[in-house]
């Protein structure tokens, strides 16, 4: 791959001498009479284009295709030659577009048939072309600056496409000699200049064009090396559509293009809007988009004869897109396209469809029944690309699942509720925060409605995890707990809760089931709270009671285990061995593997506890209730009432 190959710089030299004003003698009917208005009217006489018009529109078509497919780094310099050379634009990127060239051509106008033919020559243009090839482009300049001492690596190659009407083969030879000499001279000049570059390689493409029906005075000649720097080829082409076809073939050769025909495009008929017919559209693009066909075909096309493959087009079948699903395809290349027949109705229907943001998958027509999608057409910001999709076997097939690898078994990576969870714990909320929280809640509602999996369980759980509706129920409970814990902070916190409750409102039946579920949960909470509370443990003098509580905890655990598979069972409780309880202070409510809330509360509580000596009453309390006047009871020999029970429900 070379950036500065011959196709980096293309100079068009178009003959503007008086004979180019001659007609190409190919008529165009432009007055097409519409039916039922034809009576008695004679259509206007057909007109014909001049050799000049044919040359200009063919070279503009060459540029159109080139700019569509290579909007950058492939540059054109347009020169018109008559009694002198008129250079219509420069190498700068701003000058590289059709509008600029069209405006400049309009300013030049058609050749003047009455000008003195003796003063006019294509040679002026050819000399100017060599001169302009020595001029550095902004890309060459940038690369040279970047490479510093290796600046000589930046190549200076180019191509001159000269469209003229030559008199004879010897006239053609004279033109070639002139180019060669001029290169020789200018290379000498460039050697002593900082802002000019010597031409390393120049490809001269001489196109002799003449009116249809005349005999050509010039013979075709394939590419020939005239010197180490210059190669030349001669094409003798009739004007009119023949010239356009020739330039179309040349642009494909010069820029390594290939053709794809999209077939089976369904399109509404103009006349009968309710019927649709299938159309074909031919597109040009870089030939690498066919890399799989070129290499896996029986014959190896690459590198062979250059003329051969250009008549060929590869046919791909349109697959009507079903959804607008956003998917990340494995795409091995994306190439800009240009329709061959840009203004035809099928072409513009296809391009407009794509420009409106739809993508189309393309299928390889195969004789067997198997369907192979090999390409995709898609637009990105007003540019259409042909994407090559990998259709061969993947070397990464059957990869180990991420859940089987490191960290794969950890289930509580909290991924979705993050905006809400980080915001709700703030002491005061802004309007934006509230909005953010509400958005998160709506998002969750939406996910539940669509039955999207919650991230926590898709990652990491092995085998069947809890059912999806269960996951959602657990998530909602947890969320409610989290938000409730903060409602006292402000009215805005309250609003988040209201939003949450509104979103959670369920039909009564479900509400009932939920209540039952919650009861169980509460029980579970109790048990956990009881067993978790290490501080509390110290205060319990009666080891029997402790045992009892632990036992009940176990019962609850067992219960939880049994109902695990029912649709509304709570998340399985922490299965850590009971003796390994954390030394964390009591939390408001906790269940399951450590929830975000308990993590947070623990953090706050630990932070707070460092700041002051804990009040003895709270230290000895059961469920945050301290028994007053305990000593009285002890003195009276009475049993302490069961604190736990009082706090229940």
């Amino acid at each position: 791959m070379k950036i500065f190959s011959e196709s980096h710089k293309t100079v068009f030299v178009v003959d503007h001498c008086p004979y180019m004003a001659e007609s190409c003698r190919q008529h165009v009917e432009f007055d097409m009479l519409v039916k039922n208005r034809t009576q008695g009217i004679i259509p206007l006489a057909p007109i014909s284009k001049s050799l000049w018009t044919c040359s200009v529109e063919s070279s503009m078509e060459y540029c159109r295709i080139m700019y569509d497919i290579f909007p950058f780094k492939k540059l054109v310099n347009f020169i018109v030659s008559d009694s002198g050379a008129h250079v219509l634009n420069s190498w700068t990127q701003e000058d590289q577009n059709l509008q600029e060239l069209m405006a400049a051509l309009a300013a030049v106008g058609p050749p003047n048939p009455r000008a003195d033919p003796e003063c006019c020559s294509i040679l002026h243009g050819l000399v100017a072309a060599v001169e302009t090839l020595c001029k550095i482009t902004e890309y060459q300049h940038e690369a040279r600056t970047l490479l510093m001492e290796n600046a000589e690596r930046v190549g200076n190659r180019g191509r001159i496409i000269c469209i003229t009407n030559a008199k004879s083969d010897s006239h053609v030879r004279m033109l070639e000699d002139c180019v060669q000499e001029t290169i020789h001279e200018h290379n000498k000049l460039a050697a002593n200049s900082d802002h000019l570059m010597q031409i390393q390689k120049c490809e001269l493409v001489l196109i002799h064009t003449y009116p249809v029906g005349e005999d050509s005075l010039v013979s075709d000649r394939s590419k020939k090396e005239l010197s180490p720097v210059l190669t030349s080829e001669v094409h003798s082409v009739r004007a009119g559509r023949h010239l356009a076809t020739k330039l179309n073939i040349l642009v494909q050769q010069h820029f390594d293009l290939a053709s794809t025909t999209i077939t089976n495009i369904p399109m509404k008929e103009e006349q009968h809007a309710n019927t649709s017919a299938n159309y074909d559209v031919e597109l040009l693009h870089h030939k690498d988009a066919h890399v799989d066909f070129l290499k896996s075909g029986d014959s190896h096309l690459g590198g062979g004869s250059r003329e051969g493959p250009f008549k060929e087009t590869i046919t791909l079948k349109w697959c009507t897109p079903r959804t607008n699903n956003i998917e990340l395809h494995y795409c091995t290349g994306a190439y800009r396209i240009s329709p061959v027949d840009v203004n035809s109705r099928p072409s513009s229907c296809l391009t407009n469809f794509l420009l409106n943001g739809r993508s189309v998958l393309l299928e390889q027509p195969r004789k067997s029944g198997s369907k192979v999608i090999s390409h995709m057409l898609s637009s990105h910001g007003g540019e259409i690309f042909l994407h090559v999709l990998s259709s061969s076997r993947s070397i990464l097939e059957d990869p180990p699942s991420i859940s089987e690898g490191c960290g794969g078994r950890v289930t509580d990576y909290r991924i979705t509720v993050v905006p809400l969870a980080s915001v709700i714990v703030k002491e005061s909320l802004t309007e934006e925060d509230v909005l953010n929280c509400q958005k998160t809640i709506y998002n969750l509602v939406d996910m539940e409605r669509k039955n999207d999996p919650l991230p926590i369980s898709t990652v990491g759980t092995r085998g069947k995890g809890p059912k999806r509706d269960e996951q959602y129920r657990i998530m909602w409970n947890e969320l409610e707990t989290l938000v409730r814990a903060h409602i006292n902070n402000s009215e805005k916190h309250q609003r988040v809760l209201e939003c949450l409750m509104a979103c959670r409102s369920k039909p009564p039946e479900e509400e009932e089931r939920k209540k039952r579920g919650r009861k169980r949960e509460d029980k579970e909470d109790k048990s956990e709270k009881a067993v978790k509370d290490y501080e509390q443990e110290k205060s319990w003098q009666d080891s029997e009671r402790l045992k009892g509580i632990l036992e009940r905890g176990k019962e609850d655990l067992a219960e939880a285990e049994i109902i695990k598979d029912s649709p509304d069972s709570p998340e399985p409780p922490n299965k850590k061995p009971l003796v390994e309880m954390d030394e964390t202070p009591q939390v408001e409510k906790s269940k399951g593997p450590v929830s975000l809330l308990s993590l947070w509360s623990n953090r706050i509580n630990t932070a707070n506890s460092r700041k002051h000596q804990e009040f003895a009453g709270r230290l000895n309390s059961v469920n945050n209730r301290a028994e007053l006047y305990q000593h009285l009871k002890e003195e009276n020999g009475m049993e302490t009432p069961e604190n736990g029970k009082a706090s229940r429900q």
């Binding site: 097409m32 078509e61 203004n343 259409i384």
Partner: protein
């Protein structure tokens, strides 16, 4: 990168190797020993590699199709018979077919050719092949360069002196040259013995089969990962930038972007990113690839329970429908994303973009991307209802700007018909009439097609005479005005034929009281 092992089983491979004081070895035993070592290495460190085994003499045979089961490959090694003479060309043709059938033409493959450097005799010998290499037709092209990206490693069961005594080395070097220099020749250093064969295969392993380990980083979160297959160095432009670029072993996440915004970008290659657990010595414990080995299983289970950033990242990207942009080197980026295969498994995958400041035109320059908070206004809108991507190109493409092309007569006829259709609906269609008229005028001026302007002017004048009695009087005024202007332009005089000048509608007033102005 799949591997094809191509093993020479010609008679010359049975030549004995003299080793003092031990049992007699043949060259094929040395070769099998070396390959065993390679397979064992792959089975532990390069498990996901697909390998096929081909044997050849004057014919070739696919002994083991592409597999990850290294036991099968190993077994096949011990079940090889001896055949006749060496015929390398047909074996290489066989490799072409096997690879293309399995992987197509785009997936890079490594070909490990194991031979003793005896290149056959007569027709089909490598000397003969190379001598006739330039006289081939398309149908019996010499198989090199391989029609897929490749590396050709030639493992010689011979030492350098032996190969140099004939022209063998020269011929083998020609093979590498023919494969565009992609590959390398390995010879045995010193006497032919098991130890020296091991060290030769060790060099191959170091060169081509060492796993690529990297650290994936995002802020202060990190994870040790293996990237499979190994990312290969990339040459941007052999003239300007001939030094192959190698990707960083620190893979730094520089940002996140929606899947819709990145929009199926073209990539050079894609790779699995597998978290690995490292013990204190820095040795790998496991890549999480399940294995029958009991010990490894339990090690994996422990590793599975330690939170890993890769899992968090994978889950987050999946849930958010986003990809992470990762820096691979200076001006070189890639993306990390969740990839699900057809079954329910999914994985963290990394794709490499082409190196350069602007790998995806629709994202613009990578260096200019930044966090949303850096923008004055949220580019995604307050309700996340818009996107700054794709970027619009400065100049529209031809298919997006209503260009005029008259190469086919139908193009010209359609444009004239449009003018005519609007002409018949004047004055309602005055705006579109002049719009189409000016479009035609511009193109005709640029193409120097002045006859067309005259022709269309004549046509409009005729339309004027054909107007029905019921027609609005303005229609006639506009038609003759337009015809007159076109006629003036068709003279080509700069005054009337300026490209940027448009024909404007004639100002008429039919309100009644005032007189008409022309």
């Amino acid at each position: 990168m799949p591997t094809v092992v191509v093993m020479d089983v010609s008679l010359s491979m049975t030549r004995p190797v003299s080793i003092e004081g031990s049992e007699e070895y043949q060259r094929k035993h040395l070769a099998a020993h070396g390959l065993t070592m390679l397979f064992e290495h792959m089975a532990t460190n390069y498990k996901l590699e697909f390998t096929a085994l081909v044997v050849f003499s004057s014919l070739w045979e696919l002994m083991v199709p592409f597999t990850r089961d290294y036991n099968t490959l190993q077994e096949a090694l011990s079940n090889m018979d001896d055949y006749d003479k060496t015929c390398l060309e047909s074996a290489l043709v066989g490799v072409c077919n096997i690879v293309q059938q399995e992987w197509g033409g785009a997936i890079p493959c490594q070909v490990v050719l194991v031979t003793d450097g005896c290149l056959g005799i007569g027709r089909g010998s490598l000397r003969h092949s190379l001598a006739t290499q330039n006289q081939r037709s398309e149908s019996n092209r010499f198989p090199l360069p391989f029609p897929f990206p490749s590396k050709l490693y030639i493992m010689c069961m011979a030492n350098l002196e032996e190969l140099q005594s004939t022209d063998s080395l020269e011929c083998l070097e020609r093979l590498i040259d023919l494969n565009n220099g992609e590959g390398q020749i390995f010879t045995i250093d010193g006497p032919l013995c098991l130890k020296n064969v091991q060290s030769m295969f060790g060099k191959l392993i170091d060169l081509a089969y060492t796993p690529f380990h990297a650290v994936l980083k995002c802020g202060h979160l990190t994870a040790d990962v293996q990237v499979f297959p190994r990312p290969e160095p990339f040459v941007v432009d052999e003239e300007i930038d001939p030094i192959p670029k190698v990707i960083n072993t620190d893979l730094e996440i520089v940002g996140f972007i929606d899947i819709a915004d990145i929009s199926s970008p073209p990539v050079l290659s894609r790779h699995l990113v597998l978290p690995i657990a490292l013990n204190k010595e820095g040795d790998e414990v496991g890549t999480g690839i399940t294995d029958d080995n009991e010990d490894e299983n339990s090690a994996n289970q422990i590793a599975g329970k330690i939170p890993n950033f890769c899992v968090l990242l994978h889950g987050s990207l999946k849930v958010e429908g986003m990809v992470a942009i990762v820096q691979l080197g200076p001006e070189w980026h890639g993306m990390l994303y969740s990839q699900a295969d057809s079954k329910k498994k999914s994985n963290l995958m990394m794709s490499l973009f082409e190196p350069g400041p602007e790998p995806l035109p629709w994202l613009g320059k990578m260096a200019q991307l930044g966090p949303i908070s850096d923008a004055k206004e949220n580019p995604y809108g307050e309700d996340d209802n818009k996107s700054p991507f794709p970027l619009q190109p400065k100049n529209k493409r031809s298919y997006a700007q209503n260009v005029t092309v008259w190469i086919k007569p139908s193009g010209l006829q359609t444009d004239v018909q449009k003018i005519l259709r609007n002409a018949r609906k004047l004055p309602e269609k005055t705006q579109t009439f002049y719009k189409e008229l000016n479009r035609l005028r511009k193109a005709a001026l640029a193409f120097g097609f002045l006859d067309l302007l005259k022709g269309v002017a004549d046509m409009l004048e005729r339309e004027c005479t054909l107007l029905p009695d019921t027609a609005h009087p303005d229609a006639a005024f506009q038609l003759s005005h337009a015809a007159q202007q076109l006629k003036l332009a068709s003279t080509g005089t700069s005054e009337y034929a300026a490209y940027d000048q448009n024909i404007t509608p004639l100002h008429t007033d039919f309100s009644g009281s005032s007189t008409e102005r022309i």
